[in-house]
Amino acid sequence: MKKEEIAERLIRVTARELKMNEDRIKPEHHFAHDLGADSLKSIELVAAFEEEFDLDLEEEEALQVKTVGGAVDFFAELIPE
């Protein structure tokens, strides 16, 4: 999957889970500090990403990802182009 598609789908899922407009979400945004994801919401986001990309993630590793751009890179490494 192309990185652009990963970014688009990831932002769509993030917007849906955090109940905000997609255009407010930027790659540099920190999930907790900028987008307001608390610890429970962070796990729900990872669960939603797993569903979106049909993956079983290593949760400790996935929860270490802090920014939207970091998440795009993380999934780009897992999903072949």
Partner: protein, 462 residues
């Protein structure tokens, strides 16, 4: 202040010599304990407990019954049998004492003796009344406790006697015991509020004189009764509250050896367990206890606490079967109808249940982080988590995985159970709930979100 360098090690130092996890944590001493007595320094060797024959005695059927309606004969027989199994072949639970005044108590003694168990040995308890010895003799007991109150509160205000009258009466009863071939165990009631130099020592010295030429099986035993829980374990406390000084005077000034000394405490100041342990450490061999601490007013040293202390001091289970503690809990709750507080150590429903999410997270990663020892193996009680708004997704994951019986890689991750955690949080945030989520409610959630795993778990449990 000299800054010590950080030891940035690669493997954790879990201090396993003290925290083995396979047993309660050890109590290790590094030196002798020093106490100032009569202006001089006296040493006690706490490490002597490893070699001394320290043991537990039980008064569940005597002091324990003073706090509740009488047990039935069948209940006493069952409890006696479990005490024997718990204490093991070495008789760590060495003796248990019975009232002798009612037919129910005497019938219970007969029923317990009919079981043919070596330990705990059965002893009696009577008031300091020569006539009451008939009961001891009739029951064929080898040893009986005698009430010998020794504070002026008791002698003057309760018994309306002088000290001389009280002592003469007590000594007369002890002589009667010896004539009957019964070993006297004098219960020095209220000793932590008594005049140690003016009454206690003169009395105990005379007791010792009376039996010093008797065979060992008849030599007087002394039970130090902290009747109101006034005893203190701290070094250099003033008499009569000092446990160390009391023990020293019994041994050094009255000639009572440690194997003839017993500590009996009460919990009026929350000191009951540690005072019992202190008595062991300072030279008393027997600590008198009751199951779950049930006893007069605030209760006695809890037997199960003494069991853990014993193991911690000895560094060995010494043949004790701790799973019997859990059997006793179930028996007391279901058959006897006793109430054990849910947070009561080693026995209460929630003694190893965490409600904090941060603790649940630790438990999920490694059980040893938030368990005192292997309660699953030793007590048959795996650590549990109670689900509330504070237990977090970690708590839900722990509960769900334990319920489903999943191990290793099969255990569900946080992301798999997060929908249940959202439901839990909604109960509190949206529904205004203030109570814990019940196990039945959680089961329903598991059934809804993991129907296949739920069905497998249910069929396994059948």
């Amino acid at each position: 202040m000299e800054l010590k360098p950080l030891e940035d090690i690669q493997k954790p130092n879990l201090i396993k010599e003290i925290f083995p996890h396979s047993a309660p944590p050890r109590i290790l001493f590094e030196d002798k304990i020093r106490e100032t007595i009569d202006g001089g320094e006296v040493e006690f060797d706490p490490q002597s407990v490893i070699d001394r024959d320290i043991h537990i005695t039980d008064t569940t059927f005597r002091d324990g019954q003073q706090s509740r309606p009488p047990y039935t004969r069948e209940q006493m027989t069952r409890i006696y049998s479990m005490l024997s199994k718990l204490g093991g072949k070495e008789g760590i639970i060495r003796q248990t004492e019975f009232f002798l005044y009612t037919k129910n108590d005497r019938d219970a003694i007969d029923a317990c003796r009919d079981l043919g168990l070596r330990y705990p040995e059965i002893t009696g308890w009577i008031r300091a009344n020569i006539g009451d010895f008939r009961l001891v003799k009739e029951m064929g007991l080898k040893e009986s406790g005698l009430l010998t109150s020794c504070s002026d509160y008791h002698i003057f205000h309760k018994q309306k006697q002088t000290r001389q009258q009280a002592m003469d009466e007590y000594l007369g009863v002890v002589e009667a015991a010896l004539e009957s071939g019964v070993r006297p165990r004098c219960h020095l009631e209220d000793v932590t509020r008594a005049d140690i130099g003016g009454f206690v020592i003169p009395f105990v010295q005379r007791l010792e004189k009376l039996t010093e030429n008797q065979p060992d099986s008849l030599r007087v035993k002394i039970r130090l009764c902290d009747t109101m829980g006034f005893g203190l374990s701290y070094p250099n406390v003033a008499e009569p509250r000092s446990i160390p000084k009391l023990i020293y005077r019994m041994k050094e000034e009255c000639g009572i050896s440690g194997d003839r000394l017993e500590w009996h405490g009460h919990n009026d100041f929350h000191k009951v367990h540690i005072n019992g342990a202190t008595a062991w450490i300072y030279g008393v061999d027997a600590v008198n206890t009751t199951l779950f601490g049930f006893g007069e007013r605030t209760g006695n040293p809890p037997l199960e606490g003494a069991v853990m202390e014993y193991i911690a001091l000895k560094g060995d289970l010494c043949g004790m079967d701790l799973s019997v503690i859990t059997e006793l809990v179930e028996f007391f709750q279901k058959d006897v109808g006793a109430s054990i507080p849910s947070n009561y150590p080693f026995a209460g429903r929630d003694f190893n249940t965490t409600r904090a999410g941060i603790h649940a997270g630790g438990l999920r990663r490694n059980e040893e982080i938030y368990t005192i020892f292997d309660t699953r193996e030793l007590l048959g009680r795996p650590p549990k988590v109670a689900i509330t708004d504070k237990s977090g997704t970690d708590g839900v994951a722990l509960w769900v995985n334990d319920f489903l019986g999943l191990e290793g890689d099969k255990r569900l991750s946080l992301t798999k159970v997060v929908k249940i955690q959202r439901w839990v949080m909604d109960q509190y945030e949206k529904e205004g709930r203030l109570t814990a989520i019940s196990e039945e409610e959680l089961e329903k959630q598991v059934e809804q979100h993991f129907p296949e795993l739920y069905a497998q778990a249910k069929s396994r449990k059948k």
